[in-house]
Symmetry: C5
Subunit: 328 residues, 5 copies
């Protein structure tokens, strides 16, 4: 799908330009053109990017391949940016995935390219359709809106992960299982993936905010600075989360050992109580000694029934007690 949004100088917005009309729109230096390629095959995108817009082959190559690493390249007349979106895949554990969004920002146009639908792009697109005052601003403001939406998306993922971490920590203290470990490992992986987006993305925003680029209006730098500050904060939060996840494995190990301690205590107590008296009983069962008639009452039938009762009830009581301690 290729969709376009064009606001000519002083005119009202036009949708769905043909690719032939792009060249004309590009010549309108005070206009604003947004072209969004979604899921288009390279055969379609490449000629437009190379010929109509005249982008450098290396940049176009990067845009059509997936790299998922945020980055900004200054090609003089335009910037090439990789700005991944982050999504959380919740089925079968927690996975942090990134969707690549490539952008070319020129003086009067923005070209975005992505294989899957990206929620942030759609939101900005809708808001530009709804409220046409946005279209009066420079095109770098459109880029700001986009990175701001993307950052909001990152934050949502971070908050979800934070909840998962808290839940996992509670699980570690309450009923640690191998599944808990697997979740911890998955969260660790997720945070690593997150950091691999956030760190370079922060650097991209820093560059945009420092005003190194001709296509960024100096008045708009404060907006990029704002997103940069937001990303710095997110980066710090994920670092803290990594600390907590790292600590959770140590805690898990400590708690497992703690439990084993309890179990070993019970085993030792039981053994310590019964081994000596069992020996005493065995001792007097030896055939050195002949049975003496006087205590025959102890082995008559009623005694036998009592003994049988004890033999059947004791293990049951024991089982119940073990069950209560949560071992089975």
């Amino acid at each position: 799908m290729i969709r376009t949004l064009y606001r000519p100088k002083g005119g009202s917005p036009v949708l769905e330009l043909s690719s032939e009309q792009f060249a004309e729109a590009l010549r309108d230096k005070d206009g604003l053109l947004w072209v969004d390629f979604q899921g288009e095959p390279p055969e379609v995108c490449e000629p437009i990017l190379l010929n109509t817009f005249g982008f450098h082959p290396l940049a176009v190559d990067d845009a059509l391949q997936e790299s998922h690493v945020p980055r900004v390249d200054d090609w003089g007349q335009y910037l090439y940016l990789v700005l991944p979106a982050i999504v959380l895949d919740n089925k079968d554990g927690v996975h942090v995935d990134s969707l690549e969004l490539d952008a070319f920002l020129g003086g009067n146009y923005l070209v975005t390219h992505h294989d899957q639908p990206v929620a942030s792009v759609d939101q900005v697109w809708q808001s530009y359709l709804r409220d046409q005052r946005h279209l009066e601003k420079y095109v770098d403001h459109l880029l700001y809106r986009l990175v701001d939406e993307l950052a909001a998306g990152y934050m949502a993922v971070i908050e979800e992960l934070d909840d998962d971490i808290e839940a996992t920590q509670d699980e570690v203290f309450e009923k640690p299982t191998t599944d808990t470990l697997e979740t911890i490992f998955m969260l660790k992986r997720g945070l690593i993936a997150l950091r691999r987006i956030l760190t370079p993305q922060r650097e991209v925003l820093n560059k945009l905010a420092r005003g190194d680029y001709a296509v960024i209006d100096s008045q708009d730098r404060v907006f990029f600075r704002d997103v940069y500050d937001h990303l710095v904060r997110m980066h710090d939060i994920t670092e803290s989360m990594r600390d907590l996840v790292g600590g959770a494995v140590d805690t898990y190990l400590s708690i497992i050992n703690n439990r084993m301690n309890d179990i070993m205590k019970t085993l030792t107590v039981i053994t310590t109580l019964f081994m000596p008296i069992s020996f005493v009983a065995s001792f007097f069962g030896m055939n050195f000694f002949g049975p003496v008639a006087s205590l025959n009452d102890w082995t008559n039938t009623p005694a036998f029934l009592i003994m049988l009762g004890i033999t059947i009830i004791t293990p049951m009581v024991m089982l119940l007690w073990i069950h209560r301690r949560g071992w089975l």
Copy 2:
């Protein structure tokens, strides 16, 4: 609640200005105006901040939202600062919370904004009411008083956490339980939260001390430098505390294993002592051998009573001994 404190040029202080009088006070370049918004809804604050004081919409937006990350933004005519206070929530474990305090510092005014009451603000307010000589100084001295009080508040939290860490370490060595682990984890979380305030706050003070800003009088930079040094020290202390808390988990694990070692030794000793002789006793209980009359005295009634006594007393002695070793 909106409270105001205004000292006109050469005049005596005036309390409780209406928001219409703000504009007049702002024109008095040698006066000093402090406006404090506490718990006021955005609808009330926003128009005053935007229109009366003329702050940038992004800055006002940041002030009305909570971010809890210290920061200073230079908007030329004024500074926008986020200066969180730190409080310790002691009910149900140790939690480090931060209260956001936003401040706008201009050449002759300070605007503070916070949702909850902040102790440091109240203390400075009271001291300014009590001792009016404070009001004769520049407005940046008022900001210094505020950050100095906030830093004192951080220090109090750090000291409380330090005590908790020491108590927890003692607990690890004396009677480590899962609760101890949970406290350690909570302290770790608290230190991470603390560091996330201290590191950027230190940076804010560094910027104020370096004299990068027009609204900070160069003579007052030494005061901000003093607070900066204080924050550097606090940051170092929290880093050491993190080291100690991290080591505590390792120690916990080692001590738990040490205990298990003791328990296993006992189990092994008991088993090693009784298994061989129990076998011997069983051996002679086999029916290969007929009972021999000569030792019938060993199985008469008095012997039985003695045996019964041993059987009852031995487990009791064992239990007592186990109890003494602290296993039950």
Copy 3:
């Protein structure tokens, strides 16, 4: 083997020059000469490198010795580069090996030297033979092709290691053995070896991209920048992989302890159930009590057979149950 590829100014390519013709080719400033030494002994290479090309003795020394550490030395008229290739040795575990590739880049020539065959060199050689348009470009483009192929080779190794790590993690969660530990250790070693190539290689590319060197055409710097970005990404990926491998050992330990916990529980339950009732049975086996005739039915032959059946079947059932739990 010494193979040469020479494209004279405006002429068509010539293969297999004698070493005497080298001097002539070098004088053709607009020509392009590539000499590749493969597995040649120092006695053969040294005189050519020293005398024909006039390289510094230290540089020639470095080229003839193996160091495996990427590096670029600027000798004014030419660059000396060490650019190792990475190969994965899969027999008997995973080993990351590096093959040293030395290169001298002058204004109109590239000299490569390696002891073993290097796949990337062969691929670039073939592509230059196949498509002679490559030969029209400057010689630094040839170097770019070479480092780009090498980087692609690194990526292949990284991906293979990544698969191994994922497989190992699954193994840790499913059936951790000492072999798993050994694989983890081997992967750790491999990542360390990889990093020791990637970090300096990245630095070499950074220097080439910054355009510090006279022999690199300024227009081609963007290509080296592209490879540099690729190496930065690879470096980040290996760092994440190190994190994951490091975490795998902790997880291994936790899972082993978890299993021991399960085993100990079973032992404790069995002991707890049978010790008390075994004591009771021993108690009534003592010779204080004479056998009573009334229960002789319990010890007649059919009862014996039932008892014998129980004695034989119980351990079998137990074994089966143990087997099901995966302990044997």
Copy 4:
């Protein structure tokens, strides 16, 4: 106690000046004045420091409060320095304490202030009394002597800690107990405390050696450089010690587990040896089988005595053997 040492221009030293004479001595630009406040209450020190010497109130405040963090503040006419001494408190474990020493260095005077007696100060004082040639040098040489003595004091503490660490490591390998763990933890704490002095102290010396300050004679910078190098070395040594202490906890845990392994082996061997044969003995003790007369010799009185001997001696031998393995 306030003690003073004054060498007028070209004159001989004068001891014990009254505070009124200070002003006069300060005017003697080529003289040398050392005033040492030891354990004097703030009421005594403050007026002298503020009025006679004219130090800034913030600096005097810092001097009278304890902060224990090395630091140098340049107040133009004079330097304010915090230079803590380190002492080792050996009773009830190892504690690293610091004694605060504050110093003001002007062009012709040094003012030192400390609450407790500081050995380094006394040593320098004595050497200045003994050998008056010292007094002919500039006052910054006096400061050099002081920091040099302090650094020697740090080194002594480091060496003592190093010995403790080595002793503890041996203990870990020979007989690890919970006390060993507690010592390790204490050493860790000590090293953290040490580092918190050494790192900023090193920075102070670096600043003095770089010659940023007017009151430091450029010729004397080489002496401060020497102390700086010494501190750098000490810092490196403490870092290595931290590594070793950190490793000691891991080793402790490994050794404890190693021991448990040994104990478990014994338990398992004993159980494995006796359980099957005990079952066999029990089997033939069942009342399915009647006693057979032919083996009555096995249960006659001499056999009983032998059996009794075995029953008594076996546990004793076992105990002895257990004792030898160091378990009890």
Copy 5:
């Protein structure tokens, strides 16, 4: 021992100068003088260094004391260098020791001072005696030869440690004992000691290569650069080795726990198999049941002999099986 080597301007070398002749040799600006002090007491060295060569007292002091930390001090007319040699002490474990070598490099002389014999110095000395062409070069080339030999000595130590690490890793996987742990700890210590030499030595070489010093000929800087590169590589190798040694402790712990797991499994299986049937046997041994005559064949003498055989052989088989599993 003081040995000297003097090559006058254009003349042939002279050995064994008296200390009086030093002054003359020093005046010969185009000559080359090497004085080597080995194991001479300070009383002998100090006057020569101070008076004949005119070195600064601080530098001479540093040379006569041992510090073992590589360093270069620029004293204008000459450089003072500390260049330790590293030796491996293999008796009673692996210890990395350093031998201090001090050097003064002037425009036309090199003074070396060391307490113990240093192999690298002797090798360079011999090569200068053997091949007098070396003497024609500048004196800084002599220093290069020296640091190059020292670096080769470091490399030998690193390779030996690397072999030890590999052997230890194999031991961890094959038969981990407390001795293995002790070796790991010793290797850790050795690597820490190594790093404390390599890091500053690398810095020294970097300074020499950068050409900051007047006494280093600019043409020779490339040689020092070569040694610097070698040291960088060695530093990287030792860092990797530290990683591996650190991982070895974790692996050790995991393997020990793995083994305990195996042992516990066996214990649990044995207990699980025999406890229930032992109970059954005890049950029918109670005196509730009278012996029944019909099965008396089971307890006749041949049966007894079989039983006795089982009782004796079973533990032997068990022991053999335990032995096979490597537990005893």
